[in-house]
Symmetry: D3
Subunit: 186 residues, 6 copies
C-alpha cells in the first residue's frame, strides 16, 4: 500500500506508460512513506468506444513528450552552437535570465551577452530533475562548468544550475545560476 | 480522463490527502496533456481490518510531513539566527554548499564562512517547488536577496536559488546559488 | 454481470442513492439482457477531501429532485385548481400544448382554453415513466379521464397521456394528448 | 464526477458499447446535476476466462438490439403497408390501442378499424425517446400527421404520440394518441 | 501483485473480515507464486443503500461462523463426554465413520462402538486446516492419541486425522482415521 | 455480492485463471454465505508496462502448477511402480509417514517397509481436496483400498486418506492413514 490505479485511453507507448507509473509512484512517496516495494501502480487502458465523457467518446491526447528529452536536445545544440536546432526548442514568449543579466528574449542576445565572459565553456551534468507544476513541466539541471577565461586561464568545477519551464514541448523560460562571478572575482 | 484511484489506509488528515491528490494530479499532467477539469483523483480509504498485505493487517505509516513546511521553518530560523531551531531541522550527515564554498557540515561553519560577504541579507521568496525523487523530497526555493555589503552599500534584487534534500522530515543537504559574486565584481 | 460502480461525493440521501442505483440498473438492462439478479450496482462515496478534479476539492451538487414528485405535485394542484402551487412548479419559458390547442404560456390561458370542453375532469393514473434525456428529465404520465361534458352527460375511461420536460426542478414544457375529441365526435 | 465503471463480458460491438455509455450517462444525470463534461463512463471488458459467477465462466448474452431500430423498421413497414415485415416485428401477445379504439391484436384488425378514418396518412417524426423499465424497453415516438380525410380534404400538422413496449426485440404493445378526433370534429 | 479487491456489504465484524482477507490471500497463493508481501487484499464495504442487485437493496447475510471454532467446541465436548453440547454441534443427517466402523448416526452409537477399544483416549492436536469446497466448509484436524488399552497398558503418539464437513454452522459429517489398529495388532 | 476483483499480470493460461477464479470464489464462500449465483470474480490483467511495483515493471511469475495434477501423477507412478517418475515428483527434504511407520525419506525405504503388509493394493479415489496454507499447497486424497493380504486372501473397501504437502511443484511430505491395521486385526 498504497495502490494507485490510473484509467487512461489506449494509445500511449510503453515508455510513456513507464513515465506515468514512475511519476505516480513518486507522487505517492511524496506523502506516504511506504517502502518502495509496497507501492503499486496499475494502468487501466480503454479503447475509445469503452470510454465516454459527457456521453461522448474521446480521442486520446498524444502524450506530453518527455521534457527532459527536450531540454537535453536544447542544451546539446547550444553547446555546439547549432542555433537552428536550439531555436526550434523554444516556445512563444521565451525568456531567459543568466547570472546578473537582464531578461533576454533570443539566443543571439544571449551570445552577445556571454561574449567577454569566457572563451568557451563545457558543462558536466550531475543531476536532472523534472516534475510538473500546473500546466508547466519544470526541469532542473545542475552540474559543473569547465572552460577558459577570456585571458586564456582555465577554470573547472564551477557549479551551475539551470531551471527550464516547458509548455507544449517547448521551452518557455530558462533561468541560470552559477558560481562564475564568485570564482572570477576571487 | 485520466482518472486516478489511490487506495490508502485510513488515518491521514485532510490536508495530507489534499497534498496527495495534488501530487497525483501533477503526476498525471506530467505525461497526459488533459485539461485540468478532466483529471480526477479519488482516494479509497480502508480501515485497518479491511486491508491486508501478505495476509496481515497493517498500521498506516504516518504521512510524510510537508517538506515545504520544514524548509520554511529552517529558513525563517536562519534569517533570525535562531540556530537551535535551525539545527533541529537538519538530519544526520547534513551537508551544504554555498557559492564557491567548500562543503560545510554545520551552521556555525556556514556563519563563519559568510562573515565578510555581507553585513546582512534578507530573502524575498518568488517561488517554491517541491517534489519527490526516490526516497528524498526535493524543495527548490528561488527569489531575490537584499542587504548591505561589508562596506555598508546596499544591494537588492540579487537572484538566488536554494535546493534542499529532505529525508524523514530532516534536511540532509542544501545547495545555494546566487548572483552575489557577479554583482559584487561588476 | 454486468456490475456497475459509480463514484460520487458523499452527501446524497438514501432515497437519492436508491434512485441512482435503479436508474443505473435500467441503463444496463437497456443494452445487456442479463437476468435482474445478475445486475449489481455499487456506489463509492467520497468525503470531500478524498476527491479532486483538476487538483481541486469539490462540493457535491445537491441531487436533482425526483421529477416525478414535481409532476405529481403539479398535477394535484391543477386538479384542485390551486394555481399558486401549480405556477410554482413551472420554469421560465414554460410552454404547453393540449389537443389541437395552440401553444400556451400560462395556466390562466389554459383554463380559458379548456372552458367549454368539459364541466370537470378527473384523472386516473395508470403509469408514470421518467428518464433523463440530456439536460432534461422527461416524465410521461398516462391513464384515463372521467368527468362531465358541458351538457352534463358523464364520460369516463377516456385515455390520456401527458409528457413533461423538467429542468432544474421546474416544468418547462407540457404536452397532452387524449381521446376526448374522438369520443365527443363519436 | 460522478464516474461510472461498468464491468461487462467481451463481445459487444462498438455501437452497443456506445448505447451503454450513453444510457449510463443519462442515468447519472437523472439524479446528479453534474455538468456533462464531468460525467465519465468507463467499460471494463473481460474475456470469458477472466470472469466467473458462482465459480463458473459465462458466455456473454448478445446485446439487446436497439429498440429504436426495431420500432423504426416497424413504422416504415406500416407506412408502406408491408405487413409481412411489420408482423415480424411483433411479439407474442401483441396488443395495440388507437384513439378510442378497443384493444386490437392484429395488423389486419387495425387496418379494418382505420378504414374510413382517412384516405392515407404520413407521419413526420419530431422526437424519439427510448429507455428501459424493468424487463421492457419503452420507445416513445411523437410528431405530426398529414394526409387526406375520407372526403378528400387534406389535413396536416396533427400531433401524435406512439408508445411501444419492446421485449426480446419484439414489439409487445403499441399505444397511439393523436388529435385527429379533435381536428375532425372542429 | 496480485491485488484483490472484494466488495461486501457493511456489517461484518473485524475478525470476520480478517478471515476473509486471509482466505483470499491463500486463494491467490494457490495459483500465483507471489511473495507474501506482494499480495494485497482490500475490502470495500457498502452501506445497504449504496448497493443494489437487480435494482433492489439487500441486507447483508450474517457471516458464516468460523467452522474451526465449531469443530473445536465439538471436540472439547466429546473429550469431556458433554454429549448435550456435542449434539448441538451436529446438523441434520449427520453421519460419522470411524476406523473400520460402519456408518453411525448418533453419538451414543459411537460411544457404544468405542467401548472395548480403549479405556480412555486424549488427543493432542498438531494441525488444523480449514477451507471451503462448494457449499461445505471442510475442517481437517490431525495429531496424536494417548490413553490406555482395555487391559490398562498405556499407549501414546498414535497418529489420527479427522475430517469434518460443516454446513450452516453444523457438522454434517465426520470421518476418522488413526493408527490404533496398526499399533494394537503390532 | 460479494464481488471480487483480482489484478494480475498478463500471461496466465485460461485454465490457470479458472483455478484462480474458483479459489477466490471458495475463499469468499468460506466467510460470506452468499448464494453461488451472487458471487462474481473478475480478473484484471495488465501488460507488463501497465503495472509497476516500487516504480519498476515486473515480469509475471509463472503460475504455480496445479498441485492436484502433481499428486495424481505421483500416485499413478507409484501404483505402477514407475519409481523414476515418482521420484521426480518429490522435493528436497521429502518425508513420508505411513500407518505406524517411522518417518521415511525414500521410495525404496517405503517399498521395503510395505513388503509383508500386502501382496498388492489398488486405490479407488473418492475425493480430492486441495487448498493453500501459507507457502504450501495441501492436497488430501481419500478413498478405499482393495488387494490381497500376504496369505492371498482378498480385501477391499478399506478406507484410506493421504495428505500431501506441495512446495514449488514438488511433494515435500506425504502422510497416510488407513484402516488396514483395523481390518487385519479384526
Amino acid at each position: 500500500m498504497p495502490i494507485v490505479e490510473a484509467h487512461i485511453l489506449e494509445g500511449y507507448a510503453p515508455q510513456e506508460k513507464s513515465r506515468l507509473t514512475r511519476a505516480l509512484t513518486d507522487a505517492v512517496r511524496f506523502v506516504v512513506p511506504a517502502p518502495d516495494e509496497a507501492i503499486t501502480v496499475m494502468l487501466h487502458e480503454y479503447p475509445k468506444e469503452a470510454y465516454a465523457r459527457g456521453g461522448e467518446h474521446r480521442d486520446p491526447a498524444p502524450a506530453r513528450p518527455d521534457p527532459v528529452a527536450l531540454v537535453t536536445r536544447y542544451r546539446a545544440a547550444m553547446e555546439t552552437r547549432d542555433l537552428n536546432t536550439a531555436e526550434a526548442c523554444l516556445g512563444e514568449g521565451f525568456e531567459m535570465v543568466f547570472p546578473a543579466s537582464h531578461s533576454m528574449k533570443s539566443l543571439t542576445e544571449l551570445i552577445d551577452w556571454a561574449k567577454g565572459r569566457y572563451r568557451f565553456v563545457k558543462k558536466t551534468t550531475e543531476g536532472i530533475e523534472a516534475f510538473q507544476a500546473g500546466g508547466s513541466s519544470i526541469v532542473f539541471v545542475r552540474g559543473t562548468l569547465a572552460g577558459e577565461w577570456p585571458d586564456g586561464r582555465p577554470f573547472s568545477s564551477i557549479r551551475f544550475i539551470d531551471r527550464f519551464e516547458v509548455v507544449d514541448d517547448r521551452i518557455t523560460r530558462q533561468d541560470v545560476w552559477n558560481d562564475l562571478g564568485e570564482v572570477r572575482s576571487a
